[in-house]
């Protein structure tokens, strides 16, 4: 692969030529970018450094970014919990189970539905899309009580089912996959049909393998919003063993026992699975160029 064609491939991604831009413009862009990166990272740096110091130092002026000592007691307190029952590990497990189940089901069902809405012409498909989108437009407080009643009538409270089932699919997922699949080349689908493949086969053999960027993106965003869900688990879960991370952290940092250092430590621990997931999926976000060799325009 010659050097020129490699450059061509990089430029070809967005049509933006890196080398051809004037130097001052590049400098401005980099300055703005670094400024923004600092703005994004500063609160996180604060969180991580605060987890290493005792709570009384967290509000010092000026803030002691590098304190030199590592106050490991915060992490111990976070893992141990205020009651000494070490329930944090269980909370993390619960969050992982719930978020993974919801992510998997959303990825599948959203792609299925998005495909139907994007590539099939049937009467009323616009209405169906708007109907589904409409479910995103009602704030959770308004539907909280009827939803809670439905779930308790089904006997699902205080169980994984109660945490997972109401969220098996969400409107954002359907919307994302539909928009993405709009640009999926019809020729590939027609070619597969001519080859005699059935519709479901086409879905599993053609659509899914070529949609990884969107599916990966949807997965990480769904995982994240479930990881972060506080109100629903708070309502639905009563026993200690079923609590998820946000419920645990809120209780842990309850107003009468403020210990910012320990709370930051708990947050650092809670963010690790998300970081791992991101790195695992990151290659699908932009590394899909090879996948699209097949999708010749």
């Amino acid at each position: 692969m010659s050097r020129t064609s490699r450059i061509g491939r990089r430029e070809a991604r967005t049509g933006l030529q890196g080398g051809g831009r004037a130097a001052p413009v590049r400098i401005v862009i980099w300055v703005v970018l670094i400024g923004m990166a600092l703005y994004i990272l500063a609160p996180l740096a604060f969180m991580v450094t605060a987890s290493f110091m005792p709570a009384r130092d967290v509000m010092r002026m000026p803030y002691p970014w590098i304190s030199g000592s590592f106050y490991w007691q915060n992490f111990w307190q976070a893992i141990r919990g205020n009651d000494g029952h070490f329930m944090y590990a269980r909370a993390i497990l619960n969050s992982v189970i719930v978020a993974t189940a919801i992510t998997a089901s959303t990825a599948l069902l959203a792609t299925l539905t998005g495909y139907g809405l994007a590539k099939f012409r049937f009467k009323g498909r616009r209405a169906v899309l708007l109907l589904i989108l409409g479910t995103m437009m009602v704030p959770f407080q308004a539907i909280m009580i009827p939803l809670y009643m439905t779930v308790t009538k089904m006997g699902l409270q205080d169980s994984y089912a109660g945490l997972i089932v109401p969220f098996l699919i969400n409107a954002f997922g359907v919307f994302l996959m539909r928009q993405y699949l709009l640009t999926f080349p019809d020729e590939m689908l027609d070619a597969a049909r001519i080859d005699g493949a059935g519709e479901l086969q086409i879905f599993f053999r053609v659509i899914i393998p070529n949609s990884w960027p969107a599916i990966a993106t949807l997965s990480i965003l769904t995982f994240r919003s479930q990881w972060d869900n506080l109100i629903w688990p708070l309502l639905v879960v009563q026993s200690e063993e079923m609590k998820t991370i946000p419920v645990h952290i809120t209780r842990f940092a309850a107003e009468k026992f403020t210990d910012e250092g320990a709370m930051m430590a708990a947050a650092v621990i809670a963010s690790l699975p998300m970081v791992i997931l991101f790195f695992a999926l990151a290659k699908y976000f932009v590394g899909g160029a090879k996948l699209f060799a097949a999708r010749k325009g």
Binding site: R56, M59, E255
Partner: protein, 424 residues
């Protein structure tokens, strides 16, 4: 084959018989999170279940900030817990709407309801009394005094024993001496108020001057403008646009007090704060560099009121079966029979006459200061619209402190809002 089938059927029948659950009562008990109280009450649950094998109790602790919402949703869906507690202010709508049951004196171990009133200090059951019925028993009964960090007083040349603020005017002078600033920013405040809880500390300040939030008949709002204006002016002076002694946007005073890290010298809190100091900062607790003083009064006060008292009451869901209700009251009685343990382990005062007279209570440091303040205090007013009234007070105080609204304007808005709330 036949023998195998018979054996199989036998096994199924026996398993079925074993699987029939023992007839039992299951109680659901929701309360708010308190790291000191949880191990105590979990022990009570175990002991009670051991005493009565047919009864199981599930105790769930929620974060205090979210608990009101969770309990409300559960009750709205008719799935409320059998036993729960809240502060008297959010509990009142449950009473008014008959969602909680009146006490069952026999199950509680008293001959009559009057006997219950006789067992508790006068007035401490008012928060759960409505139209002649009693609806709950207190888990804790609280009033606020001022906590003082004596070390900072001495640092600025004050003698904590004599120079502590006895009036609100003195509070300003003392706080000015104690305050440390970096430009406009207060790095150490002398004192700061317990901001969102206006029904507890702000109303007494107004009532000390002869004002009131509601008229006697509860139909009109804001009585005695002069009193209100004095209070609003005071807060305007206190805030960033005046003498800059404090502001609602700083971290809450009582949260910083325990850390003893030069952030605040005085705060408002209840008896339970002592226990929190001991758990959070044992060195500070042991150093005795802290003391408690009574709630200040205005120099021109006409009434000597301390901060309002309020209580958390254990209540029973009216929609539970009568059998469950009876066991619920029995369990509540069992828990509350350990008044001394609640006091010594959690710093919670259950205002029974026996406990208040006991050695344990009397020998608590500063108990007499809290008791003296309770004697000159009124109970937090009961009104279904309390949350909205408190929000209206919040708007009034914050508008004069932060938004540059004049006290006269703020008072007018407050009056309008309160009257609208009353009409709703």
């Amino acid at each position: 084959m036949k023998r195998m089938w018979l054996a199989f059927i036998a096994v199924v029948v026996v398993a079925g018989l074993m699987a029939i659950p023992a007839a039992g009562v299951q109680l659901v008990f929701w309360t708010h999170e308190d790291p000191n109280r949880t191990p105590l009450e979990e022990r009570y649950v175990d002991e009670f279940e051991a005493m009565y094998p047919g009864v199981t109790i599930q105790r769930v602790a929620y974060p205090s900030g979210e608990m009101a919402q969770v309990v409300l949703t559960a009750f709205a869906a008719h799935q409320g817990p059998d036993i729960f507690n809240q502060e008297q202010s959010p509990e009142f709508p449950y009473i008014v709407n008959q969602r909680v049951a009146p006490v069952n004196p026999v199950a509680l171990g008293y001959p009559s309801v009057q006997a219950i009133y006789d067992a508790y200090q006068t007035g401490t059951l008012d928060g759960a009394t409505y139209e002649g019925n009693l609806y709950g028993l207190p888990l804790e009964f609280t009033n606020w005094c001022l906590f003082v960090n004596t070390k900072y007083f001495r640092e600025v040349g004050l003698n904590p024993g004599t120079d502590y603020p006895k009036t609100w005017e003195e509070m300003v002078t003392v706080s000015q001496q104690l305050a440390m600033r970096n430009g406009d920013i207060l790095t150490r405040r002398g004192f700061d108020f317990r901001y969102p809880y206006y029904l507890t500390f702000l109303l007494p300040m107004v009532e000390q001057l002869g004002g009131a939030l509601l008229s006697e008949d509860g139909q009109t709002g804001i009585i005695n403008d002069a009193a209100w204006l004095q209070v609003l002016n005071y807060f305007q002076q206190w805030g960033p646009n005046g003498l800059n002694l404090g502001s609602p946007t700083y971290t809450a005073a009582r949260k910083e007090f325990n850390k003893d890290n030069n952030a605040i010298a005085m705060c408002e809190s209840g008896l339970y704060q002592i226990d929190r100091i001991r758990t959070e900062n044992p060195a500070f607790y042991a150093s005795n560099e802290w003391m408690i003083i009574p709630f200040p009064v205005w120099e021109n006060a006409v009434n000597n009121y301390a901060s309002n008292t309020y209580a958390h009451y254990y209540m029973v869901n009216a929609e539970s079966t009568s059998e469950k209700q009876e066991w619920a009251w029995k369990f509540i009685a069992f828990m509350l029979s350990h008044g001394e343990e609640y006091l010594l382990n959690c710093g919670l005062v259950q205002p029974t006459k026996t406990l208040m007279a006991s050695e344990a209570y009397q020998s608590l440091p500063y108990a007499e200061i809290f008791a003296a303040d309770i004697a000159r205090a009124k109970s937090q007013p009961l009104n279904v619209a309390n949350p909205q009234l408190e929000a209206a007070l919040k708007v009034a105080i914050e508008s004069v402190m932060l938004s540059g609204v004049t006290p006269e304007q703020a008072l007018q808005t407050l009056r309008q809002t309160v009257n609208e709330i009353l009409q709703d």
